[in-house]
């Protein structure tokens, strides 16, 4: 297939499926809390709605950064689709994309001029210091497989079986990373409800549409990366079931867990990352 068509198709699939998964996640949370909850396609409808709403720009915003940051946010997750599902490229590049995403989150808050945005911007730095060590666990995958390339990791699993059985602690750590990215997450300090919507608070209309679009794509990509590096080459049905299971589990956790304060959130995530890292090394070199 033509590369450009492949990219467009994958981005559309990532957006549509990602928004359905986020809707499903919200539905699970609602059912756990004994509410009917919105329809599953609510996140998708919200995203569309924002694209047609009037876009307001606050006087205190830092232009043109305020506008361009949403486009950058969207672009980096489109780049993640190209590196992940389209090219089966390097995990290291996805790590770099996640690092840039944390910087964009920080700048999105600071560019709005809102105190909530600024508070979120400070928290984004905290959360980067805890989420990036979580993602750094991919170093263990390199030690096991000998490559950071997703294609090579899939090929390795075709011969040696799914990595989840060899590196269960790495899987838990990456699951925590997905959990920290989810809406209403216990680790979601940048969008905690004590600061309204955090860095998104002052982005309206089309700009919010871009943010929601990138949220859907990022959710799909993180789930895809998790399933691909721990279960190998899966069929369409297996990916669908896997992503639904991830969304269900995270919805269950989010519905029953309060949002931690920034200090606790950061320390919990760093502790999990250290335990996962050291535990995985022990499992690799001592137990197996």
């Amino acid at each position: 297939m033509n590369l450009m068509a492949d990219i467009i198709l994958n981005v559309m699939v990532a957006f549509l499926f990602g928004s359905i998964l986020l809707g499903f996640h919200r539905k699970v949370m609602a059912r756990v809390q004994l509410r009917p909850g919105p329809p599953i396609i609510q996140h998708f409808l919200h995203s569309l709605k924002f694209f047609f709403k009037e876009t307001g720009i606050p006087r205190t915003s830092s232009m043109p950064f305020y506008i361009s940051i949403t486009v950058i946010l969207c672009s980096i997750w489109v780049a993640a689709v190209i590196i992940g599902p389209v090219n089966h490229g390097s995990l290291l590049l996805l790590f770099a994309i996640y690092a840039v995403y944390k910087i964009v989150e920080h700048n999105s808050g600071s560019s709005s001029g809102s105190p909530y945005g600024k508070m979120s911007c400070v928290r984004a730095v905290f959360s980067a210091s805890s989420e990036l060590p979580l993602f750094a666990i991919i170093a263990i995958i390199y030690l096991q497989v000998g490559s950071m390339n997703i294609g090579s990791i899939v090929a390795y699993q075709d011969i040696n079986g799914p990595l989840i059985f060899k590196l269960p602690l790495v899987a838990i750590v990456l699951f925590i990373l997905i959990l920290s990215k989810s809406p209403y997450s216990p680790f979601g300090i940048t969008k905690g409800k004590d600061i309204i919507s955090g860095y998104e608070t002052e982005h309206f209309g089309l700009l919010r549409g871009y943010i929601m679009l990138s949220e859907s794509i990022s959710w799909y990509i993180l789930s895809w990366v998790f399933l691909t590096i721990f279960f190998g080459n899966l069929s369409f049905l297996s990916y669908t079931i896997g992503m639904l299971v991830i969304a269900f589990l995270i919805g269950l956790i989010n519905a029953t867990t309060p949002i931690l304060n920034p200090n606790h959130s950061v320390m919990s995530q760093i502790s999990i990352a250290i335990l996962g890292f050291v535990g995985s090394l022990l499992l690799m070199f001592v137990v197996f």
Partner: protein, 108 residues
């Protein structure tokens, strides 16, 4: 699995959900009171789940891509109804279509 087919399935699911939501808001404008099974929604759900789960047995009549797409559209039409509606119908339809799948697998 080609992304084209994946996209067709997703679009049919989303269109079905939006259709179901609009349809149920037209049918039920009142506050949510639910004490009976909607026969129309039940029939739509049963047809949808049969098409989705039993597409292998319908391969002589329908291309699997078409049957799965129509099935997803009909399933989403009932699942996507106004919150609270369509749950029992979906559950019954899954049971019936699973029974049909089981019987067909035994007989064929």
């Amino acid at each position: 699995m080609s992304e084209n087919v994946y996209l067709i399935y997703l679009i049919s699911f989303i269109i079905g959900s939006i259709g179901g939501l609009l349809f149920s808001y037209k049918q039920h404008g009142e506050v949510f009171i639910y004490n009976k099974i909607d026969i129309l929604a039940l029939i739509i759900a049963i047809v949808g789940w049969i098409l989705l789960i039993n597409f292998n047995f319908l391969i002589f009549i329908l291309n699997p891509i078409i049957s799965i797409s129509i099935g997803l559209f009909l399933i989403a039409f009932v699942i996507g109804m106004r919150p609270g509606y369509g749950r029992y119908e979906t559950f019954l339809a899954i049971v019936i279509s699973a029974l049909i799948y089981g019987l067909s697998s035994l007989l064929l």
